[in-house]
Symmetry: C2
Subunit: 600 residues, 2 copies
């Protein structure tokens, strides 16, 4: 049976030395995030998820969700009680606005907690996770009445929330939406259509579920420009806040999926359900992107979080399981075999996991800081810089975080050998759960196009220039210090490959946009290497400095330095290959006509 | 619902132009493999598996196997009837020796058929597949009496067969085996112990199952040198060939696994079961490797075969599904959206699939030819060369074939977006099925060590030198022809990286064997790139020649040339990164003490 220990020490190191939480005390919300408060969130929050949520992960996978004939859905045994405790303890309200009952902590702090929650039970975490997306949209786009009516109970967790985008004929291409919104005399709309793949669309955890639904009003353009966003409660809410009639929305079926069995993925049928416009008519896409950007960062975090839990268990298995002998001679001559840990390839897989996980944790938390700064930094210049950086890196955090999450979970399973393939050991669940994160909230190919085809050129390339400047400044500083000079030089080489690839896109993208499309995924991974490399440079710099000052746990700091070296020697070399693939361009990728793909 | 079309045209192209079947007419068995016979095997065999075996794949996954209280195991509905047809039609006997009722066709022909069978239904294919390993061991190591008693009915498929190696405490490290074999007065042995992860260990397809079991005789050394191999029939066989008493071996439970649900993975309990020594006492490891080498090639083929079926369906989905518009402007202006095929990243994933699948098919079939030549070529020199090549490449075919199989299946699932995650579309099953192939018959890390730690240095490096010579000769020839010169130059660069990595191992492996262990997996993939690259050079050369001569289907030949170019431009660049990772050596991989892996 898997175990879970929240990586509190590492989170704290990142918050202190990569994010530099103490530098932002002048930013809204950060004053409240004192070291003591943050420690309490990490310690207590970590303990809560490990004790209450984690024990339901494997049983939830095994049991899954059940839809009953009346359309109601039951979550796995224990979920309802655990969710009740989650709501009572307030763990879902960390960074929500005070005006609606939240604790108004920085996003970076709640992100740290979110990682733990997802590691403990990804399927469970998605119930409050989806609600957070809906909350974000209502906070920005909802009318004061809508906010007053829905947000307090959504923030507290008493009510759930969902995002309803996908339809059978319409996934990435939201212009194809068919769901209709007919205006009614009372100012509401009658929503009719079928939405699929709705995570947490129906369940028994809350009394009400507030659906945010994309639909088209009569006469709206037949494209993504014609989409509007509506709030459609499962149960209508009376003016006094009490629950009224059941709305005409129901769960038609739940999907049988590869993983995240504990989360109900629903087909939702809207049969003239009562809904209200959120924001302006035909501006639904912009409102949707508020949910979507938050959700994408959350999905990137899922990649990290699943990698962490799978990795932790693989480390433990490698310590416990004895098989074979070290290549350098018996490590434990008194035993019949050495532990798996002596085998260099096992160690390689675990080091890859460690290097990516700690690097991605830093990137996710630093990214969350940018979200805070984008909204709350003191100057327009700071807000713009933060917005540029997180805009550029959101698809990277989502795409690279989840690709690596799957790879690390797969490697962790591999450490177990045959036992990794068997249900009871729990590792195969992590691989199955991790898989969806590469697909939903925009497939990783869509993320890559958002980066290479959209974010790169926005505002004359301002974001990628700002990112490049930051990277080169920190590399220059890193090269000055003996302890980080080798790492900085290797990162500089990778950054040079990225610069070369960016120049290649500039030179060849106009000629043929397929040159960008064909290189987009390698480019996303190249940016990911440099961004995570930047995080490792910061961690190595901090570790070397603390060591020199005789502060901190020397073994922990040494581990940071060794892992940074591993990242530089064994992971950064991919940068050159990625650039060469990008520079291969679209010709060979696009040359073959569809009918010639089948070799049969 | 997935579909399957056997890739007969491509198999034929490989047999003709990469394997060069007609050049070996003087080798035992090849005379019978006339073009007409081979065509009939491919056409009829392909039709048989598509019509009879494939329809049971998804239902078999859903239903799985059932163990009853009496220890008997029922396979999924339809398996028994389909297996009966499989036996009656003789598809399992293609390359088995004539003396035991086989058709004595070359191994390369039966390998072509095996690919189709596995694509159609991997879990089903494992039942005859496991028997083949047991047959191989008995053919080489069995006594004439054992051969006469067991082989005819195993070859015909009337009886099944298994390999019993693994025990709870003992996976890769066979020295840890505890199963005991006590000699009995009648010359038999009483076998007692527990074996786990026994594929096809118990089922309802055959009247008898012939288990080959590793165990230790009294006083045998407590290491892999003390292992003997025994034949242990489920039902004892009388001297007249009729079935006698049930032996004391039974299935204690079946595993709940991530995939291959249609195949029963059994815990087998031996309670003083009657067994007979196969070959010499304490030479069980050598006998086991006969099964193992055949099995490893078969598992590599599983990687290819699952990739093929997943790829075929992703191609079809990309043709059918409309979502978004081409970056270069609407491709189908009359439709509301273009097909997925217009999107460069979808095309990239499919081209990667095509390039690896066709390259691996060539490598698997060319490898099977080496198996034939190793045993049946006319001269000792030819037999030695073939044995060297297939010895070197067996871990590569297994390790790279299955790593790529999983990656391609994952990408094929990705093409489906959210639908790929849903059971009914069938794609997630391919990913789950493909995953086991990276683990069993020696994890891919074990394969890599077999290659880098064992095969590389054997006979003074004779095999890797022979392989390098072959590659460089064909590159030199390829550079002479304008049509292949660019490909050959790019392959030469990759081959140079491989040579550099090999030299680095030679220079640094003696100093510290962990330098080999830490680079073994990248090295295996580097050899895989060059080996598959060699196959593409052959295919491109043949395609260019046929085109110049005005022979063959021009579109098919063009597709070969485009795909070769894709392989060179978009896949071969990994060679440099792999070499640099290898040259990173063991230091950063091994530096961190086990207790410092957890960041918590």
């Amino acid at each position: 049976m898997p175990q879970y220990t929240p990586p509190v020490r590492d989170t704290r190191f990142v918050l202190e030395h990569v994010v530099g939480l103490d530098r932002y005390a002048n930013v809204d919300g950060f004053a409240a995030a004192t070291p003591d408060t943050v420690d309490a969130v990490l310690e207590e929050g970590g303990r809560f998820v490990a004790e209450v949520i984690f024990p339901l992960n494997q049983s939830g996978d095994l049991e899954g969700c059940t839809r009953h004939d009346d359309g109601s859905v039951t979550t796995p045994a224990g979920f309802k009680e655990a969710y009740q405790k989650f709501v009572e303890s307030g763990w879902g309200t960390l960074s929500a606005p005070e005006a609606f009952g939240g604790q108004a902590m920085p996003h970076v702090v709640s992100t740290a907690f979110q990682e733990y929650l997802i590691s403990a039970n990804m399927a469970f975490a998605m119930y409050p996770g989806l609600a957070h997306g809906a909350i974000a949209a209502l906070v920005v786009k909802g009318s004061p009445e809508q906010q007053a009516k829905y947000l307090p109970k959504m923030v507290s967790g008493e009510w759930g929330g969902t995002m309803n985008l996908t339809e059978p004929q319409c996934g990435t291409d939201l212009g194809l939406i068919r769901t209709k919104a007919e205006p009614q005399p009372d100012g509401s709309y009658a929503i009719t259509g079928t939405k699929i793949f709705i995570s947490a669309g129906e369940h028994d955890l809350t009394d009400n579920i507030i659906h945010l639904v994309l639909a088209k009003t009569p006469g709206a353009p037949d494209s993504s420009k014609g989409i509007s966003l509506f709030v459609v409660p499962k149960v209508l809410v009376n003016d006094d806040g009490s629950l009224g009639d059941r709305n005409a929305v129901s769960c038609g079926s739940i999907e049988h999926k590869m993983g995240i069995h504990g989360n109900a993925t629903c087909v939702m049928n809207y049969d003239g359900a009562k809904g209200w416009l959120v924001g302006e008519e035909m501006k639904g896409l912009a409102a949707m992107f508020i949910m979507m950007n938050a959700a994408r960062l959350g999905v990137g975090l899922q990649g990290l979080a699943i990698a962490e839990i799978a990795f932790q268990n693989a480390v433990q298995y490698a310590k416990d399981r004895r098989q074979g002998r070290a290549l350098t001679g018996p490590a434990d001559p008194g035993e019949k075999a050495d532990t798996l840990f002596v085998h260099p390839d096992v160690r390689r897989m675990l080091m890859e996991g460690k290097a990516w996980i700690e690097g991605l944790r830093a990137l996710c938390l630093w990214g969350a800081l940018q979200v805070d700064l984008e909204h709350n930094a003191g100057t327009e210049e700071e807000r713009q810089l933060a917005g540029d950086l997180i805009g550029l890196l959101t698809p990277v955090i989502k795409g690279v975080g989840t690709d690596k999450g799957y790879e690390i979970a797969t490697n962790a399973q591999q450490v177990y050998g045959g036992h990794g393939y068997i249900q009871e050991w729990g590792m195969e669940q992590y691989v199955r759960d991790a898989r969806i994160a590469m697909i939903y909230e925009g497939t990783n190919g869509v993320q890559a196009m958002d980066l290479a085809g959209r974010k790169l050129a926005q505002n004359g390339g301002r974001a990628v220039q700002a990112f490049g400047k930051l990277v080169m400044e920190e590399i220059a500083a890193g090269k000055q210090d003996e302890a980080t000079a080798d790492f900085a030089a290797r990162l500089e080489k990778a950054a040079g490959e990225l610069q070369g690839a960016t120049m290649w896109f500039l030179a060849n993208g106009m000629k043929n946009p397929n040159n960008i499309g064909a290189g987009a995924v390698p480019y996303m991974h190249l940016v990911g290497l440099v961004a995570v490399g930047l995080m490792w440079l910061r961690m190595a710099t901090a570790a070397a400095k603390l060591k020199a000052e005789g502060q901190g746990d020397a073994a922990f700091l040494d581990a940071k330095l060794v892992t940074a070296r591993f990242f530089a020697e064994r992971i950064l070399p991919d940068a050159g290959a990625l650039r060469r693939k990008i520079e291969g361009g679209a010709d060979a990728v696009m040359a073959l006509p569809p009918e010639m793909f089948a070799a049969a």
